[in-house]
């Protein structure tokens, strides 16, 4: 009897962890790309929200989650193109602009939601999931890990592709050089601005998709401020992972699980204040920072605009 309860709780925990972890993972992967290239993106929260809203609209009217994700990516791209122009091309302060993008994203999505739907919050139907043959029949692991939206598996695949890109390709080498020592990249005849621009655009698209996943699959509804600091969590995950995509994957799902712990505990019959649960991931991050911060690594050129010929 209690065993059954625990099994259900465990399934909910893992499954919920994945659902909550995917937006974090996508966004943190995106941030990894731009941090490696030397751009600190504090606008993630805003980009996720724009992606979440636009993606929701796409899924709501287009009746397709994929259309939603596509729209979310476009939304993220639009939000981060501001960052590309202002921070990468013009060399304006990445922190100030990041804050501005977050504020603008919060404000504009709330306003648009209000203008569109007033105070009602329409819901989407359940999304189709992929049932991985055979594997999904395994108890606990099966229904939690192998019955997810296809995007989840694509996202995980992306992590490994990215690892390969960083290690074995010229693109990855350029990205790393742009973050380590942009003048060296410039001297080698590669445009630093272009490299960083593409990196930031990737970040925006991934954050947009992450936001879209949050509203379309995770919640099924768009509410203002629904990201609740996940953009910032993604930044921390990225910093703790020290630019390694596989560690990002691991970190994102650990934090995803801590986000979904409330539901699981409720299923297991334990009731803990929702506020405390909400604080858990942040407390976990603070503990992680206190323990490991000394050893976190950031590219030397992070958050410094590149101007050719300036010494």
């Amino acid at each position: 009897m209690s065993n059954l309860f625990h099994q259900a709780a465990l399934t909910a925990l893992i499954s919920g962890g994945i659902v909550a972890g995917v937006p974090l993972m996508l966004t943190a992967i995106g941030e990894t790309i731009s941090e490696r290239a030397g751009v600190l993106n504090l606008g993630l929260e805003g980009m996720m929200l724009v992606g979440a809203y636009v993606g929701f609209i796409g899924a709501y009217y287009g009746h397709s989650s994929w259309l939603g994700f596509g729209m979310g990516a476009v939304g993220g791209l639009i939000a981060c193109s501001l960052m590309v122009v202002l921070c990468v091309w013009l060399g304006l302060d990445q922190i100030v602009i990041g804050i501005a993008i977050t504020l603008a994203g919060e404000g504009i999505t709330s306003v648009l939601q209000g203008a569109q739907f007033g105070t009602t919050y329409p819901r989407l139907g359940a999304m189709t999931e992929v049932h991985v043959p055979l594997l999904h029949k395994i108890p606990v692991i099966g229904p939690s890990v192998f019955e997810q939206h296809l995007l989840v598996y694509l996202g995980v695949a992306l992590v490994f592709v990215l690892t390969w890109v960083f290690r074995r390709t010229n693109v990855g080498l350029n990205l790393r050089a742009a973050g380590e020592k942009p003048e060296a990249l410039d001297a080698a005849g590669v445009s630093v601005l272009a490299t960083r621009s593409y990196a930031v655009l990737c970040t925006g698209a991934l954050a947009g998709i992450g936001g879209a996943y949050l509203s379309i699959v995770g919640a099924g509804v768009f509410t203002p401020f629904m990201t609740q600091g996940q953009g910032y969590m993604a930044i921390v995950i990225c910093m703790l992972a020290r630019g390694k995509p596989v560690w990002v994957l691991l970190g994102a799902f650990l934090f995803g699980i801590s986000l979904s712990i409330a539901t699981a505990l409720q299923l297991a019959g334990i009731n803990i204040s929702q506020d405390l649960i909400n604080m858990l991931p942040f407390i976990a991050i603070m503990v992680a920072l206190v323990l490991f911060a000394r050893r976190s690594y950031l590219p030397p050129a992070l958050a410094t605009p590149y101007v050719r010929g300036a010494r």
Binding site: T169, N174, R176, K181, A184, D186, A187, V190
Partner: protein
Amino acid sequence: MVELRGITKAFPGVVANDDISFDVRRGEVHCLLGENGAGKSTLMGILSGIQRPDSGRIRVDGEDVDIASPRDALELGIGTVYQHSTLIPALSVLENLMLGDTHKLRLDGVSASARLKELGTTLGVEVEPSAKAADLALGRQQQVEIVKALWRGSRLLILDEPTSMLTPQAVEELYKVLSRLKENGLAIIFITHKLHEAAFLGDRISVLRRGQLVGTLDEQAVKAATPEQLEQRIVAMMFGDAGGGLADAVELKAELSVSDQLEYEAQPVPATAEEVLKLERVSVRGEGVEPGLDDVSLTLHLGEILGVAGVDGNGQRALAEAVSGQRRLQRGELLFFGARIGHVGVTGREKLGLRYLTDDRLGEGIVSGMPVSINIFLKRIGQAPFWRQGRIRKHAIDERARELVERFDVRTPSVDARAGTLSGGNVQKVILARELSFDSKVVVFHKPTYGLDLKTTRTVRQMIRDMRENKAALVISTDLDELLEVSDRIAVLSRGRIVGEVKPGPGAAEEVGRLMIGDVSLGTRAGAA
């Protein structure tokens, strides 16, 4: 092969290049000589695509070209070794070399290794492809930079002040590499501010002064003249007959001529002289790639100038900061006039009269956005009589600052001018005013003349000499000539340890150079070819 015609480039406030015409041919070394700030680096920046000229034309093989970016320069076969390293410390040698090769998506390590071997044979150098750039000795790093500049088949090699960080032995080796390249038909532009380098290396020599090309000595002129005549002529070109006055120029020349003509002023200080500063088996932690100090003992007597020689990045910063109080001692003790000061902070030591003239003038020496007056008082914030009960007394500060600005001959519009607007030499004078006044007793000079113009260099060296009078100085420098000239003893620092002590005099330079290399396997192996 490459020709510059009428190049002009202005920055706000200065004309860096004024109507300069310059060319270089296959199989020659063309030296570009000039003081700091004469516009040498700007001119080469234009050739390598870092800067764009305001007007003028560049011709390669007789055709007009537009060099808008470093990529364009590389495609035209112009490779550059910049003054500041462009190697990425965190990457391997091979990765550094492959950077920018964007024709393929995948990194091709195999063919890159082959290319490295091929170029290595040509140059007579051998580098481990998988070594991290940060782990290489500076001489070796520079060889990698040259390989990198030649990586895509360059026909013109530009070297911007390549010897400033090298040991005498590594400089020798660089000369060898350059002569091999010359034989292979490469055109080489060698930028330097050192007279003897230009006289030794150049097939032709051009001199830049305040953004203008004041003359070029062609092959015949260079070959025909004896070294002394050549130097005389170059000095005349560099400082001109007008303006500074010839007497001044001759004096300057004497000071900057080749090292075997140095006058040594070393004065042995009696062992009975008071010990003003003593490091007893001091160890401090390193920072990043820079080593710390490992069991260093040094003694400085009253009236003595102790030089510390070493290749850059061998613990100089750690030594300076350990003495100044910026870095905590891990082990050992520091004695100042016999008193233990290991636990005393920066401000406490500065009050005692122990001062530190930093080498990183813009990075930590001044706050560029603040007025000159405040910069002079940076180390006395909150102290009477310039602050009273925490409140600033602007008039007292300005008055004293004006006095010091005059005494140290700082050229500034007023004491209210932002320190960042001053030239390098005047910034150094502001820092000197801060460190040498207010009852200084012992001063640590860290690269005191690095990057300064000749006149300021002379002034600063005189100030160091003046320390013999009832004070003492610790001079940490990578300029061996400077140390041989001013110090009474020279200690040699290598990988955070004092590896020996040398008395200035004939043959001292070679001895210091030998000690500097220390562990041979990590230095630049002369016999690697």
